[in-house]
């Protein structure tokens, strides 16, 4: 016989959530004046000097990025909890090709995904009769339109860039899924995946209270922020250096709309940076402020989240090389087209 004694410090749940929300809002509004006061009054740096601007950028960006991550990732995770892939695949299985592909790209935004779930997800979709093209639309959109990237883009660049990024990501996912569907590459799926059909599928319904959901979202967010914090700090540090010291002319010459090779260059640069998207965004923010072209910036962000070598390697377990190559090629071409298109339209 066991007696279970759980430590339960019972502060009412709504009180905890309420105070957290209030604390977040207060912190959001005091961050900028506090950073300026600290850099220019307390440290006595001059506004407009290299070092003054760099330090103020750093001091303001750190709390801002942290608050954005903690606040919005918690909310997004909470919303995502209502769209588990187990439910989503049922919605996608019965659709036609067009509706399925568009739906999969859209659901990719709200459905939680980490690259280690790629294999079970892939098998689960195929098993439920979701067509290959639709499955790939989901596999492209889910990591690319990711919450951390979206949140930081929104907070640091404003809603228009964040929405453009999302629209571009959805377009690549829909077109990519459609093309893969057309190529009829079913023979490049490992045979055992087809053999697994019909073995699973009995998804178990979990009953979660609102409190469970909020606790889950918060513990996920805390863990995520703790893991990416060093990269973010390093990214903001480099961003601050660029903001204060790197001359605008240099950035314009390399990353500006006048350099036709900038788009493929940043896409290549982005590949090894996978999973450090969060740390890279403050650097990109500083570069954009110094005259890097918008299309080039978008291509860089998309390549960083969508072209993931670890994910391709993991997917090797379920699909054969030609299909992985097609997947990688289509995504890369899509990103290049988006980059050039935006540079062309804006400048």
């Amino acid at each position: 016989m066991t007696t279970l004694v759980l430590p339960q410090p019972r502060v009412p749940f709504w009180l905890v959530v309420g105070s957290a929300v209030v604390a977040w809002i207060v912190a959001w509004f005091v961050a900028a004046p506090l950073a300026a006061w600290f850099a220019f009054d307390l440290l006595g740096l001059e506004p407009g000097t290299h070092i003054g601007e760099a330090v103020a950028f750093f001091l303001y960006d750190v709390p801002k990025v942290l608050l954005l991550l903690l606040g919005i990732v918690t909310v997004v995770t909470l919303i995502r909890g209502f769209f588990p892939p187990e439910k989503v695949r049922g919605t996608l299985a019965g659709r036609g090709e067009l509706a399925g592909t568009v739906g999969a790209a859209g659901l990719g935004i709200v459905t939680p995904f980490c690259s280690c779930s790629a294999v079970p997800l892939f098998i689960g979709f195929v098993e439920a009769g979701v067509p290959l093209g639709v499955t790939f639309a989901f596999l492209i959109s889910s990591p690319m339109v990711n919450e951390v990237a979206l949140v930081l883009l929104w907070g640091l660049f404003g809603p228009s860039i964040a929405l453009v990024y999302m629209a571009a990501g959805l377009t690549v996912a829909i077109v990519g899924g459609f093309v893969i569907g057309r190529l009829h590459m079913e023979r490049y799926v490992e045979d055992y995946v087809w053999a697994l059909q019909g073995t699973g599928g009995s998804s178990i319904e979990m009953k979660l209270t609102p409190e469970d959901r909020v606790r889950d979202a918060w513990s996920y967010t805390k863990d995520l922020v703790r893991r990416i914090l060093p990269y973010i700090l390093a990214g903001i540090g480099i961003g601050a250096f660029i903001h204060g010291f790197v001359p605008t002319e240099l950035v314009v010459a390399i990353g500006g709309p006048g350099n036709p090779l900038a788009v493929p260059f940043v896409v290549l640069l982005a590949i090894p940076l996978y999973s450090n998207a969060a740390g890279t965004i403050p650097i990109v923010q500083a570069l954009l402020g110094k005259g890097m072209a918008v299309g080039t910036t978008l291509a860089f962000m998309m390549a960083m989240t969508a072209i993931s070598l670890p994910e391709f390697i993991i997917l090797k377990k379920v699909i054969k090389t030609p299909l992985i190559a097609a997947f990688a090629t289509i995504v890369t071409i899509g990103i290049l087209v988006i980059g050039y298109l935006f540079n062309f339209l804006i400048y």
């Binding site: 066991t2 279970l4 939680p112 779930s117 079970p120 997800l121 697994l196 073995t199 178990i204 863990d223």
Partner: protein, 79 residues
């Protein structure tokens, strides 16, 4: 003797779940063995797609989330 299976290829969430499961065993004071399941075919055979999944004595109790040690301890003493 209870069997706790942690389903997942070994990403960060799977490791957190395994740690919580071990803590829960101590918390609940039950005799239980924690096993990691990394084979995809076996993970899929439980009918889940989102990892990590948690199975107590062959029954799926959660998937796609990392329940707290307290929650797992409660399930252990119920089961």
């Amino acid at each position: 003797m209870k069997t706790i299976e942690v389903l997942g290829p070994g990403c960060n969430n799977c490791k957190r779940l395994e740690a919580n499961a071990r803590e829960a065993v101590t918390m609940a004071g039950v005799d239980a063995e924690v096993i990691k399941v990394i084979d995809y075919a076996r993970i899929m055979s439980y009918g889940i797609m989102s990892t990590p999944g948690l199975v107590i004595d062959g029954k799926v109790v959660s998937y796609g989330r990392v329940p707290s040690a307290g929650d797992i301890a409660a399930w252990l003493s119920e089961a």
